[in-house]
Symmetry: C2
Subunit: 270 residues, 2 copies
């Protein structure tokens, strides 16, 4: 059992969680993490305070509390608990007020709000990624900001969805399948939009593992088939001068941000 940690917010707690996770990942020890979002009333705050104090009594250690609570009354209640607390927002808001000469105007639920044009762009991008996944449709490629290509299960779908969800980028994706391999070439629809293509590749043995989880013992999953497909596709990337990256050791966050960084596509902010 690791040290107890609470992420607390009067909003979604996503910010507290994402940021707290980044801070804790610097430590080589285990933490037992617990997220409490929507602490929006005095009653709920008192209940959470009770939970923190119980945890202290039970474990004998003060739990770590990372919070991003905008409402000062709610914050005061959490402060008065037995926690060791780390106030994510105010630690930076107060010095920023001085530097900028502008008073903050704290407002709950502003971080993840729908009150901006970018939000509907983002929802459009998510629907676009869904509707243009896996080569389902080659009709709407003019709308694409980017078209990811690669063999089946090399990471195209999660990467396209992450690009849309996190950055509002419209990403289509297209698979090269076994039947294409004898004479691998770009379909005319892709050839006409070559400047939007971005290739993914993967180490054949990792591809074999991933495919085997899905269709164990199949030709599709065999090391021989995986090696052949990856080789053909990489040769095509080189021949056609399509930029590409290897996804084997990278998370969707890393793949998506590397793609943006290499193509110069703008990240939108949510």
């Amino acid at each position: 059992m690791g040290r107890k940690v609470f992420f607390i917010s009067d909003g979604t707690a996503i910010t507290a969680e994402v940021f707290g996770h980044a801070v804790l990942s610097q430590f080589p020890i285990d933490f037992e993490q617990n997220t409490i979002p929507f602490v929006e009333t005095i009653a709920k705050a008192e209940e959470v305070k009770g939970q923190i104090n119980d945890c202290f009594i039970t474990t004998g250690e003060r739990p770590l509390v990372f919070h991003s609570i905008v409402n000062p009354e709610i914050r005061a209640i959490i402060y008065s608990s037995e926690a060791l607390d780390y106030d994510f927002l105010n630690t930076f808001v107060t010095p920023l007020e001085q530097q900028l000469g502008v008073k903050a105007e704290p407002k709950v639920h502003r971080t993840h709000s729908i009150d901006n044009d970018a939000y509907s762009d983002r929802i459009d991008a998510i629907h676009y990624a869904m509707d243009n996944d896996d080569g389902i449709s080659l009709k709407n490629l003019d709308e694409a900001d980017i078209i990811l290509v690669g063999v089946s299960r090399c990471g195209k779908t999660p990467s396209s969805l992450y690009l849309s969800m996190q950055f509002g980028v419209k990403a289509a994706n297209y698979p090269f399948i076994a039947e294409d391999m004898d004479n691998l070439r770009l379909p005319a629809e892709l050839k006409a939009r070559k400047h939007k293509l971005f290739g993914l590749t993967i180490e054949p043995m990792r591809l074999h593992e991933i495919r085997n989880q899905r269709l164990q013992g199949s030709t599709y999953a065999s090391p021989r088939q995986c090696r052949m497909e990856v080789k053909e596709v990489e040769m095509m990337y080189k021949r056609e001068r399509i930029p590409y990256i290897n996804t084997t050791y990278h998370s969707v966050e890393e793949i998506a941000t590397k793609i943006l960084s290499l193509t110069g596509l703008q990240r939108k902010m949510f």
Copy 2:
């Protein structure tokens, strides 16, 4: 033109961006935001320093720099620029080291790493959400952690994808369509898994706007149709005692976290 802000990291910069965005959203002024990920070499750090200093010279104002740089050499170069810098990681890591009595072991690319079981669960959840979107398949519902239901375009797809992407939760979704409305009832596959159902609803006029963007002037998008569908579906939620929330004024982050909070489903951490 707002005050210039840079988010800088030797990793994806997603943490710096998400957290910086939360901090800046507390201020009632505009910022001009710029993200620079993967500052992994001395040369790149010097280049970024040059960019910051040029910005100071051009605008006459020190740019704000929010960073989460793990490598101390890289960090020192950014520190030595003309920026007003806010060090997201070390501001919390140093006091945490004291509180925990444990030295941090800074490691680049640990935040968004694939070195954990949770990562493949998450990729599985993303593929699950894709394969079980929009009632495409009712075969794999036993695997679902949750099944979102509602009328077309009330927010089911983005919410399902966010649940999988951010929290590793397997979310299927099922639409009630116009043809169902005369005698609205749950399909047997859903009825058998009623404890997993969660309803979404939306204000009819907002639904009309959203549908109209897609199919302008259609019956599907008409206010009358939207009112009727929402009314029938809400009546069914009540009759069948399906918990539900109204998505009209909420972002996917808020919808997804509210669903988890109301159902008690565990958030996994990435």
